[in-house]
């Protein structure tokens, strides 16, 4: 199982990640991602791995990464 790590110093709340991974991430009132499981580094289920990879690749701030 991999987890999603957000570099909050890089994130600017562009919002692509929570559009591409709505099962894992919601959004706060300012547009920054909110892990739905309440953890610092939310788990990404295997079935969503491809979507997570896409989100990581498309983040314009390169602020998210998958860690194992």
């Amino acid at each position: 199982m991999s987890r999603l790590h957000v570099d909050w110093t890089a994130c600017a709340g562009r919002g692509l990640c929570h559009e591409l991974l709505p099962e894992v991430l919601g959004s706060d009132p300012w547009g920054y991602p909110v892990p739905r499981d309440g953890s610092r580094e939310p788990e990404v289920p295997e079935g969503l791995r491809q979507h997570a990879n896409t989100a990581v690749a498309l983040c314009p701030r390169l602020a998210i990464r998958l860690i194992s």
Binding site: H5, V6, D7, W8, T9, A10, C11, A12, G13, D28, P29, W30, G31, Y32, V34, P35, G38, S39, R40, R65, I67
Partner: protein
């Protein structure tokens, strides 16, 4: 006041009790049950053990006391810098360090420089000056500063301790030096079984004995603090800490030893709103949830304190707290949310009174 103990503040200068190689002191620190005195209270031996496995570890003595209500690290470096420097040398020996640094405010750095000039140390110590910012003492901010960059928290997918960096509070190092001198049983003569030893406390607010005192863990709150006037609550652990009612309960989990006594006559909500306004201003402005969330929290809590809020404001505060926790490069948002939560629960009757338009300080 009652006589407290004095160990780290008054220990005389002595030869550095070298342990004869890496690792030995770690076992003594474990037996002594020494915990970090920077706030988190993490067992010192576990950090030492982890860093000792690294290639060319770096040890940093941290005296960047960003907390405005704390002055114990500055006091320790002014009164007993050699004990801190002994502890730094011994920590360097224990982990087999490649480099040693001391990170402190300009004034404390001056005390350390003066002491270093009087010593011949095995590990040369580089002094790095810390800016006067709340977050400047956070582990990754410390390492940034040591690295010659701005003292701001960094993203850390891996903890610094897993990358060979030992950042240890200066008071922890002073206790470590005394454990090397006198042994773990001596260390355990003070304090409790679960929290052995002594700690430095900075007292302020409605007390007759303000300033830095050394005390054993487990000391009753009303023996540590002497009221200058009736006290309603004490902020324990500083601006990221928690409110504790004024009692004879033994002191436990004091964090970095900060105690601010709130007089009966003062509005706790007003005081807390000022603290949160300060905390919001001390955001490093790097992480969105902290940058946006803390000022909003401060504004809403100020509205409650000024009797301009509704019941919905309190709900909004709780929601906002949920939005900042765990969402930053450092724990500044988490600590601020923890303080907010403690304020909302400790002063719940005050909040109800304020929503009705009354306040204890304006009767």
């Amino acid at each position: 006041m009652k006589t407290l103990v004095a160990r780290v503040l008054t220990a005389p200068r002595a030869e550095v009790p070298w342990q004869g190689g890496p690792g030995r002191l770690i076992a003594l620190a474990q037996e002594a049950g020494l915990t970090g005195r920077g706030g988190a209270g993490f067992p010192a031996w576990r950090k030492l053990t982890e860093v000792a496995t690294a290639h060319r570890p770096v040890v940093v003595a941290n005296a960047a006391e960003g907390e405005p209500a704390s002055s114990k690290d500055a006091e320790l470096l002014a009164r007993n810098p050699h004990l801190v420097l002994d502890g730094l040398q011994l920590a360097a020996e224990a982990v087999g360090a490649a480099k040693c640094h001391l990170y402190a405010s300009r004034i404390s750095a001056g005390h350390a420089r003066h002491a270093l000039d009087q010593r011949k140390d095995r590990w040369p110590v580089t002094i790095v000056e810390a800016p006067d910012l709340f977050v400047a003492g956070e582990e990754s901010a410390v390492l940034s500063a040591v690295d010659g960059k701005r003292a701001l928290p960094r993203d850390k997918p891996k903890l610094p301790v897993h990358q060979g960096f030992l950042v240890q509070n200066v008071e922890t190092l002073a206790h470590l030096a005394l454990i090397a001198r006198h042994g773990p049983s001596w260390f355990r003569r003070e304090g409790t079984r679960d929290e052995p030893g002594t700690f430095l406390a900075t007292l302020s607010g409605a007390v007759a004995n303000p300033g830095v005192h050394e005390a054993p863990f487990g000391i009753p709150l009303n023996e540590l603090l002497q009221p200058a006037e009736p006290i309603q609550a004490v902020l324990v652990g500083g601006y990221h800490g928690r409110w504790v009612p004024w009692t004879s309960e033994p002191v436990s989990r004091p964090g970095a030893g900060v105690f601010v006594a709130l007089a009966e006559s003062v509005c706790g909500l007003d005081f807390s709103a000022q603290v949160l306004t300060y905390l919001a201003g001390q955001s490093a402005r790097q992480c969105g949830p902290c940058l946006n969330g803390l000022p909003r929290i401060a504004t809403l809590l100020t509205a409650v304190a000024r009797r301009r809020a509704t019941a919905g404001t309190v709900t909004d505060l709780n929601t906002l707290a949920g939005f900042v926790i765990g969402r930053g490069a450092c724990r500044h948002p988490d600590g601020s949310a923890r303080f907010l939560h403690s304020t909302l629960t400790t002063f719940d009757h005050e909040i109800a009174a304020h929503l009705r338009g009354t306040c204890r300080s304006r009767r």
